[in-house]
Amino acid sequence: MRLYEITSTPISTDAVIARLADPAVGAIATFVGVVRGETDGRKTLHLEYEAYPDMAEATLAQVGDEIGERWPSIRAVAIVHRIGRLEVGETATVIAVSAAHRPDVFDALRYGIDRLKEIVPIWKKEIWADGEEWKSGMTNFTN
């Protein structure tokens, strides 16, 4: 089972996990990316996420394919990312992977979120009281 979705509506982690249900599965690992209320000492008012939709879903699928190649024991991969305005505390992304047994699920999950942050055409704008800024992995790198 592969689920790759860019959505404008709130994400239910339970609903994503339910999609991985499979009698052959004994282990599910889940990552939830949540909007944090503070960054660099500044209070975040809200975030805005933007995507290049078709290409974003295609690169989510690429991330899933790479997981499948590296960890053949992985049975299902789900990656859902929300776009639009998100308030502090809301869920921006859910990634879930499943397997019959647990050894590979943690590494596969970590790879999924790290790789999403590298290649998926989604952008995040942070809005705080005195300004706003598009943030990226590169911003963090140069800081």
Binding site: E50, L116, I122, W123, W134
Partner: protein, 81 residues
């Protein structure tokens, strides 16, 4: 040849548009498109150093040749997750 160019995030806001139609000579490559954009829209020059480019929704190198009807996306450093 007619190329559709899409913009996102900071360069989109700087330009004030999310899409442009650009006419280029046959045989032009991505790098020629970038030079054209920098000449026509100087505000974009601040963003071209760290730009990735996709043609028809796949990442490509700047030497890639373009064809009539291609959709090119100018992608600033990504920030999902």
């Amino acid at each position: 040849m007619e190329i559709k160019v899409k913009f996102f995030a900071a360069p989109r806001e700087a330009l004030g548009k999310n899409e442009l139609e650009v006419t280029l000579p046959e045989g032009a490559a991505v790098t020629d498109l970038i030079e054209h954009l920098k000449a026509e829209y100087p505000i974009l020059r601040a963003y071209t150093r760290f730009l990735s480019v996709a043609v028809n929704k796949a990442y490509v190198g700047w030497g890639t040749e373009l064809h009539d009807g291609d959709e090119v996306a100018c992608l600033p450093p990504v920030g999902g997750g």
